[in-house]
Symmetry: C2
Subunit: 335 residues, 2 copies
Amino acid sequence: MRNNRAMSVRPHRIAVLALDHVVGLDLGTPSQVFSTARSSAGASFYDVRVCTPGGRPVRSTAGFQVHPDHGLDLLDTADTVIVPGIHDGTALTSGSLEPEVAEALRSAYRRGARVMSICTGAFVLAAAGLLDGRRATTHWAYAERFRRLHDRVDLDPGVLFIADDRVLTSAGVAAGIDLCLHVIRLDHGSEVANRAARRCVMPPWRDGGQAQYIEQPVPKATDTSTAGAREWARQRLHEPIALRDLAEQARMSVRTFTRRFRSETGLSPAQWLLQQRTDHARLLLETTDLTVDQVAHRSGFGTTAALRQQLRQRIGVAPSTYRRTFHPRAELIGS
Amino acid sequence: MRNNRAMSVRPHRIAVLALDHVVGLDLGTPSQVFSTARSSAGASFYDVRVCTPGGRPVRSTAGFQVHPDHGLDLLDTADTVIVPGIHDGTALTSGSLEPEVAEALRSAYRRGARVMSICTGAFVLAAAGLLDGRRATTHWAYAERFRRLHDRVDLDPGVLFIADDRVLTSAGVAAGIDLCLHVIRLDHGSEVANRAARRCVMPPWRDGGQAQYIEQPVPKATDTSTAGAREWARQRLHEPIALRDLAEQARMSVRTFTRRFRSETGLSPAQWLLQQRTDHARLLLETTDLTVDQVAHRSGFGTTAALRQQLRQRIGVAPSTYRRTFHPRAELIGS
């Protein structure tokens, strides 16, 4: 299949279905990512177009009206149909959809088209019945609402995207970029996808899933998780923090704590702590006038040399270079 | 300043200036990122609006016309002006700009507004003279053209964004998200910015700069870089590859090779090789019907156990779970 597609004369046709309250960034994602997928001779593999019900203008969340070139009949000839996220509308509030839109989506799927959603676009596919009995994902902040409306869908809000046969759904917002890159990989292999990713200034794959981005409620004292210990550590990043102290905060043995910590964060306590210290140092370098030495102390690296080594390894630059790039008035600060 | 802004009654006003051939994803970025920056009580810190010259419709690269609510007078009262990327127009081709647009931008800057660009939006700021004598960045693929047109700008295409006093520029496409998060961090601190990042399913900071995404020309045999050795390694990922062999390919001592390798990639040869093997395994799990055992061999992990351990550490899942999530027809493949 890959070779047939790559060699076919006409580009693969993608129809992006914009509904009222469409998320502006999601609407721009397919054309951006797929248009950067080209043969080595520079020919486009994909032809991306936008349609709306009746070809009528729709309002985007980004402060403008979208005037499309096409109506729903674009779905009749599309090889792939993509539904970007929406911020309002009946699909989100009651799980229902205008009958003509639902039927156009179902008919495209029956005809053999691949169907995809970005972010809350999954609510639209679900309202059309296309996710029944399937695994799917959506923006983490909408997972509970999705489950309430669609109990026949096997929702996994912990991943960046899910491919279930010809139906592919992505997590929130930027995860739409990951999904589009994945589809390019399926259709044309990793070399073309990697080139497209570089054009979008995104990695071809991200480590971890949507789970790492989910907002966690503030931990309660009775929690049997390691979240409380993390909060405790975040408030004293300027101090040395031993694994023993962290485990004690969570009232666990070091061994249990380490195991649970890793399963909750995907990192060892030491890796996590180093990341927190580095992030705190970056914040201080970007937004304060503290000297590099003060930043090293406040972020718990102790010495400038230790901070320098960590920044070099993670970002490839020295603290002063980092500040010169990212601090709006770097030249006024002594080092 | 941070506190004043956070406590002020009216939200910070952001004007997004859309010109003809505006990049759809860039146009959707500011509203998406800034609208997720809210106080703990849920109040918006920013009010994002879109304008065009004369309030006239402009064509986006994403297959639709943009009909804005405002004309250039929106710039008269904006606290921040953002110019998204464009794919065509005189700013890109000859470095010139309609006088009324250039003057509106300069006047906003003189009045004290913060001015930002995303991707090739830097060409617009430069054409208005706002980048003269400043450090700035733009999409890596346009760096050479930018330098040719604007020799008074100190361009650094190796970073994701640059803050030079009140003028901030970002690298290509997705780097616009990083820049908007940075500005939220400057205005309201890291807690608000981290929350916004999670809503966008993006990390609050990315490691490394735009440099890691730049497309490298195919290395020549006479190259004194380590690129040829990397290409050589990529073609035999199924085999064990020793540091000694890599250095030999580049005709360098192990020590010189390691130092140069790190300065070119930001990674040690061993880290890089592990990343390549993991990426190759992910590709095979996502797009082929090979068994997990075959994938482990073809990606050079040798044993399923080694592949399993690496996937767990990097992504937190087992190979079979990974395939079940990302392979369109996972259920048909034996493990």
